[in-house]
Subunit: 203 residues, 4 copies
DNA sequence: CATGAATGAGAGTTCATTCAT
DNA sequence: GATGAATGAACTCTCATTCAT
């Protein structure tokens, strides 16, 4: 058993190693331009080796996506402990930004990329996505319980909030801010978020 | 003369035909996965034919993009004549939606796709984009002049507004609304927009 | 009749026009890189037009070759009228150089290019080549009659002479003089020819 | 170790196999008309395989060229040990012929083909060519030291000698001896060389 | 477990050539 | 007589994937 366990562990480590490297490359080069060979070169193994750990590029893609959602969820756990749920909700936007700008490759994968979704795995694949989303809806509901958002539908609220932060992030990530002066773009992003958080209190 | 005119017209029609088809395919498959061959097959011509109308894949991409921005701008012209600029601004969101959902391929190309921007054309290429954007900033400024958005920065406002509608649209277009019940998604989108428009008055 | 004649004449003129242009391009770009389209563009006609005057690229190639040999022969006619055949023979080398360096494209075609010789025309195609060559052999024989080249075979002599000048020219034309200092190359060529001519008298 | 050695050897053999085949095809069809596909077909491998051994068509070309110059240099090493440098110089011509007619593909590549020299390697690429050439200039200088070639410039001499043998070889290799009777061509070549060698003593 | 070797399929692109008008 | 439109065949090159060792 001990031997088998160690083997299993080593196998997992290798898998993770590949995963991390692939994720880095996705971030650096984008999905389409990241080839199995590129990954193989970076991990200093042969392309064939990758196929020992992942059935094909698709499975690799899903595994990375899984990783991404896990990390995303971890970021969400760091939400402030403030008594006021509105404060926490406002902080969540900043956490979202942090994740997106620290892991643009993951973000792309999770929320923008039109990926090969032709596999069945879809069910449990979104599991972690749901969990993260329920952090948001949870906060929205807490806000409502605390007297905010009077008369508003929580689903609509969560959707609007998500859409807004996603919109800000994805215009940036996909380089669509050319109408704004280059030096001011980063500022603009945070000002927009702050403005939105401001408004949130008045909704 | 008549002959030449007809020829010219036919040539333009063919060009448009290719353009439309390519845009559809770009939408369906993404830029990288849309090959000249795929387009050729769909229009039932040989790949070489496409090169009679476009220098290379890049030029084709730009032409589509150009078309897209033109159409986008046309949509923007239909903004209501309401005396209250806030009403007009609120209407603009609906127009934006209309464009996006009636032309999802174009939308993708314009605001989501990571495209080969390695060409020099960049200057005039974004011209129409700028024009459309200034419709938005124009309305925001009018609103300010009319007493709305007191104390707010117009650039931040326009960026937030754009980001929000873009966020709503792109989550939909890129199929990232799986956390919401399928039948309610469309409703949700419009409710979010209405909620946002609502809020706008209070900013 | 008059009409037909004029038509025939015009047709010949067009043919020649194409021929000249093609020859220029061959000189400029080399055989392989000269496409029908390139030629068409330069003459400002459509590619299809060229096929009205030449069956295919091969025939065009042969026609140019024909032209080249004609011109070559013309150059040879300018050989000096010196009483001493040795002087005339020595002058022929310079004429050969003149042709080669004034018409490097032709020279390539005639003496270097591995051309599509898959056609039957071969018989009369070399006719003019033979004529030019017999100018050389004629002079060699005259030299022998005048007492030069005692005990030497005229065929061997003519072949050696031709080979030598061709060797000098083709090393230059095909850019194989890199071992010699760039500025001295042209000089070297003429000095070698002069040296060879010098030697010739002592053979 | 033994395994790795064998693998390495096999890899080299494959590389050489491709190299030889490509050289043959370059000879037969010229550089431009020799496609990767043609080579692949001839070696009965897929086109992609060639890219495992050579980065691209250019590198393949350079590798062949390299090989060719190496072999050429080896031939030159076999020059006779005769005390009289003139004898050795005269022998060099025969060695040159031997190389050229035993390796016409290589010869073509080295001294005739208009190849894509757009790469930077040019410096060390001609290294071996220079070395071979200095064998020639060395002999010429020895001859001068021994009292031959009185009053002649060594550079001009070496250039003339090279040009002459190159001229003979390249008229043959490029099939331009149609003016001479087929059966006598080979003889003619050697007679011209002998005649030239003869003359050399009198220069 | 790891990989070197190989490949089929497909990418963008160019070109000589044809043919209806 | 001239050509616009079209194409089949060819090009170089890349990539995910397989398999014997």
């Amino acid at each position: 058993m001990g031997i088998n366990e160690r083997r299993e562990r080593e196998k997992q480590e290798m898998r993770n190693f590949i995963l991390r490297t692939a994720a880095d490359l996705f971030t650096e080069l984008g999905f389409e331009k990241t080839s199995i060979r590129t990954i193989a070169e970076k991990i200093e193994y042969s392309p064939a080796t990758i196929y020992l750990y992942f059935k094909d590029k698709n499975e690799l893609f899903y595994a990375i996506s899984q990783e991404a959602f896990q990390l995303f969820f971890k970021y969400f756990q760091t939400v402030s402990q403030d008594a006021d749920p509105m404060k926490r909700l406002q902080g969540l936007g900043h956490i979202y930004f942090k994740f997106a700008f620290e892991n643009p490759g993951y973000y792309d994968l999770m929320f923008i990329l039109r990926a090969p979704m032709d596999v069945e795995e879809t069910e449990d694949h979104w599991e972690l996505g749901h969990q993260s989303h329920s952090v948001l809806t949870g906060l929205v509901n807490e806000c409502i319980a605390a007297g905010y958002f009077k008369g508003r539908d929580p689903d609509v609220l969560s959707h609007l909030i998500w859409s807004t932060v996603h919109g800000i992030v994805s215009l940036k990530v996909r380089d669509r801010m050319k109408v704004y002066i280059e030096e001011e773009r980063t500022d603009l992003i945070y000002q927009s978020l702050d403005l939105f958080n401001d408004i949130l209190e008045k909704v």
